[in-house]
């Protein structure tokens, strides 16, 4: 089990040694893509071909982007090449028009886009290119073409997974941009360990943010597990009871201004939230809105519940948890989030938000839930109310010891 006390900066320092090590590690990935797409760049791409390098210092590292001397550029992050670009393209980069007839049709453009993905070995279901793309035709003013074809695919929440720009005169690829959890791969091994980010002060390294003390966390863990047992029992959740540390994958404990905010991951993928002195909610591994890979087939189903029936599922769960009714505020229309575009036809999920504000507009209560409208399962639930904010767990040591 991993125990994390407080957060941490997601950034590192890029040293010369680290930069060199990353560059050596990522160049084969760029060469591989250049070969597969038959790009007009030197093969293999070596350091001698590079005009500029940026090493990514944030999460998902190792990552790098390079600009070749012949103006092609490549980007690598999270274990895959996320971008290839012809920076000669003045239309994209300098808004300068090109001239001549448009020889390529929209259909040809989509075919080129799909062929590009196929050559890269990207499965259509990983970037949702087995669905219809959005194609923006080129702008043409007289004999000037002021923007190329743009082909985009989007995921189930409407977030872009593929963006390609294709020259309308030649049909050649000018820009490829990819982004989705499904594309992430194990990163190449980098032997140089970079130091953490230097922010100019020691806010992260010296616990100036009052991170919880290990002593406090160790006393809190059994209290939380007992609370999760009781919570899971009331909702008849399919998790082991009683929970032991053998069932835990990770616990994060934060000091939220004198009281704990905790996230508890079980080894079976469930996650629970514990704040103040109560379990506030959970996510199942089947939740649509999680950060991670997803494929449409795993979420496809039928819309067997109406919105009102799905809301009743949430109400029934909260009723089982037996909160004082005057602290549960859902007697108004929630915000309803459903999958985007054509995905709403095949992924039967409702995400609800009841953000309750008092007469002055202050948010004092919050309910969030995801309902699987195919089988009626409550995939995610979160409930909090100002009424509970004064309570503290019975722990006889301070939550943080500031050094």
């Amino acid at each position: 089990m991993i125990l994390e006390l407080g957060g941490a900066s997601a950034f590192i320092q890029v040293t010369a040694q680290y930069s060199n090590a990353v560059l050596v590690a990522v160049l084969p990935y760029f060469t591989d893509v250049a070969k597969k797409l038959d790009l007009p760049v030197p093969i293999p791409i070596t350091q001698a071909d590079i005009a500029k390098v940026d090493i990514w210092p944030g999460p998902g590292a190792p990552g790098a982007s390079i600009l070749l001397k012949n103006n092609w550029s490549f980007g690598f992050l999270q274990g895959y090449v996320y971008a290839v670009q012809n920076t000669h393209d003045k239309v994209i980069f300098d808004s300068e028009p090109t001239y001549g007839p448009i020889k390529i049709t929209a259909e040809d453009t989509v075919k080129t886009a799909r062929d590009t993905l196929r050559k890269l070995g990207i499965a259509p279901e990983d970037v949702f290119s087995d669905f219809e793309p959005k194609v923006t035709p080129p702008n043409q003013i007289g004999t000037n073409v002021t923007y190329p074809y743009q082909v985009e695919w989007f995921d189930e929440m409407g977030s872009r997974t593929v963006d390609m720009r294709i020259d309308p005169h030649t049909g050649k690829l000018d820009r490829l941009y990819l982004h989705h959890f499904n594309l992430e791969r194990p990163p190449p091994k980098i032997d140089v360990v970079p130091p953490p980010e230097d922010t100019g002060h020691d806010s992260f390294s010296s616990m100036i943010p009052p991170h919880p003390s290990p002593e406090y966390a160790l006393k809190l863990i059994p209290i939380m597990l007992k609370a999760i047992d009781a919570y899971g029992g009331k909702l008849s959740l399919p998790i082991t009871r009683p929970l032991t540390t053998n069932n835990l994958a990770k616990i994060e404990v934060y000091n939220n201004g004198g009281w704990p905010h905790c996230e508890i991951w079980l080894t079976n993928g469930w996650r629970f939230i514990y704040r103040h002195t109560m379990v506030n909610g959970y996510d199942t591994p089947d939740r649509l809105g999680k950060r991670g890979p997803m494929h449409i087939k795993d979420f496809a189903g039928k819309w067997n519940l109406t919105t009102n029936q799905a809301i009743e599922v949430v109400k029934a769960a909260l009723a089982k948890l037996d909160y004082p009714t005057n602290n549960v505020h859902m007697d108004f229309e929630p915000t309803v989030i459903i999958p985007a575009g054509e995905f709403k036809k095949i992924i039967p999920r409702y995400m609800f938000e009841w953000y309750y504000k008092d007469g002055s507009g202050h948010q004092t209560s919050r309910i969030e839930a995801e309902v699987n409208a195919d089988n009626g399962k409550l995939e995610s639930l979160f409930y909090d109310d100002k009424a509970y904010w004064d309570s503290r767990p019975p722990i006889d040591v301070p939550i943080s010891v500031k050094n």
Binding site: G7, P59, S65, G75, I92, I141, Y147, S203, G289, H362
Partner: protein
């Protein structure tokens, strides 16, 4: 909006004739500005009005967009001699032209050179020009003769709207934040949160500077430890920056609302910030009325912003994008070079939120990781990562809030494919 400010209508930008006008007065009913702020709208009875200006500017171009020329256009009575005198932003004479109009249309395409043969195409020294239209003739022989000074064989002079220079580069950045947002009104020590805030702000502030793009950081005085005058003066500085046409990029972190952003202090429950308050009569906020009149759509000095990120609750819900001169739709990159872009706007983008955002204390580090990931990726990647790419990466790797919440409540208007240096 205070009692002494307002928004004018320039009737000479409408065609002459009979029109209908209705006054809608919107009165805020609470000092707490957020999506639930109650407003009452008082409409008066629509009234028929007759517009009869001697000189009108119904097809005026706000911007000098064609690099080499700019065409002044006006409409008046037939058979007049006309003269257009151009003055620069410091009220110095630049050039002039004369002509005669038989049909009442006045048009002169200026080559952007001054009277002495010097090019006047540097937006830094010439952010814009003001033309003065003088007409001479029988000005009483039309319906427009009601305008003062319009008599037979007489002369009248009238300033036209401003002709503003388009930005030639990305423009300066202004990075602002409410400095004590995490500390105000709280009893525990939250200085650590302010340090994290400042780390994040510095990352955004430094990003343009790595490309030698001027960038200013301004800590807006916020909270109970300041006097009301301190807070108001601090916002006056923000207003002054926003009126300066050399600034075209704006990041703001703090309390937001539908048609304005800012506040005097936090409203708390225990140690939790649940809202903010803008004190009556104070000026610790900026609203759409100010922005429309001085920034995105000003009659004189319009300078649409290139990039705006209003990082506070509800900022994408109302009129703030349009007030900065950024279309409140996802236009995509290609729209800006299309004929549909009749105002000839350069690529621009607005980022905001259409709801409350996750501000809990335990999320502070991830909140600022999100901002640092977005700005670092967008500003440094050689592959010209676009704005959407930076925001998506931040959403998926920062750990802040949830993917559906961010995807749903994050609003990107204008060009979501905009590049950092475009």
């Amino acid at each position: 909006m205070g009692s002494t400010t307002g928004v004018g209508i320039y009737f000479d930008e409408f065609p002459n004739g009979t029109n209908t006008i209705q006054l809608l007065t919107t009165v805020r009913q609470s000092d707490f500005i957020n999506a639930q702020t109650p407003y009452i709208v008082y409409p008066n009875t629509p009234a028929a009005i007759t517009i009869g200006n001697l000189i009108t500017f119904t097809n005026w171009d706000d911007f000098i967009w064609d690099n080499g020329t700019y065409t002044f256009r006006a409409q008046t009575v037939p058979n007049v001699d006309w003269e257009i005198d151009i003055y620069d932003w410091n009220n110095n004479f630049v050039n002039y032209q004369t002509g005669h109009s038989t049909d009442g249309n006045i048009s002169w395409t200026w080559n952007l050179y001054d009277y002495w043969g010097n090019p006047r195409t540097n937006p830094d020294s010439d952010p814009g020009f003001i033309p003065y239209f003088t007409i001479t003739g029988n000005l009483s022989n039309s319906a427009q003769s009601a305008e003062a000074g319009a008599n037979a064989n007489s002369t009248t002079t009238k300033p036209g709207p401003g002709a503003m220079t388009q930005r030639s580069d990305v423009g300066n950045w202004l990075v602002t934040f409410q400095d004590k947002l995490y500390e105000d009104g709280r009893s525990n020590d939250w200085t650590w949160a302010t340090q994290i805030l400042e780390d994040g702000i510095n990352a955004i502030w430094f990003a343009p500077m790595q490309w030698q793009i001027p960038s200013a950081k301004w800590a807006i005085k916020f909270g109970r430890t300041y006097t009301a005058a301190d807070r108001s003066n601090s916002w006056a500085t923000v207003r002054a920056y926003l009126k300066d046409p050399s600034y075209r990029n704006f990041y703001y972190f703090g309390h937001g609302g539908i048609n304005g952003f800012g506040a005097d202090m936090n409203v708390l429950s225990n140690e939790d910030i649940i809202s903010s308050i803008t004190l009556p009569g104070n000026a610790a906020e900026i609203d759409t009325a100010f922005l429309n009149s001085n920034v995105g759509n000003a009659r004189y000095g319009a300078h649409p912003y290139r990039f705006v990120f209003l990082d506070g609750c509800d900022t994408a819900t109302g009129g703030l994008p349009d007030a900065f001169g950024i279309p409140k739709q996802n236009m995509g990159a290609s729209w800006y070079t299309s004929t549909n872009n009749v105002r000839h706007l350069k690529p621009s983008a607005f980022v905001g939120w259409d709801s409350d955002i996750e501000m809990s204390s335990s999320a502070i580090e991830n909140f600022w990781n999100y901002r640092k990931i977005w700005i670092s990726f967008w500003s440094t990647a050689n592959v010209s990562a676009d704005l959407l790419g930076g925001l998506d990466l931040a959403r998926d790797t920062s750990g802040w809030w949830s993917v559906p919440d961010i995807t749903t409540h994050r609003k990107i208007y204008g060009d979501n494919n905009m590049l950092f240096k475009q």
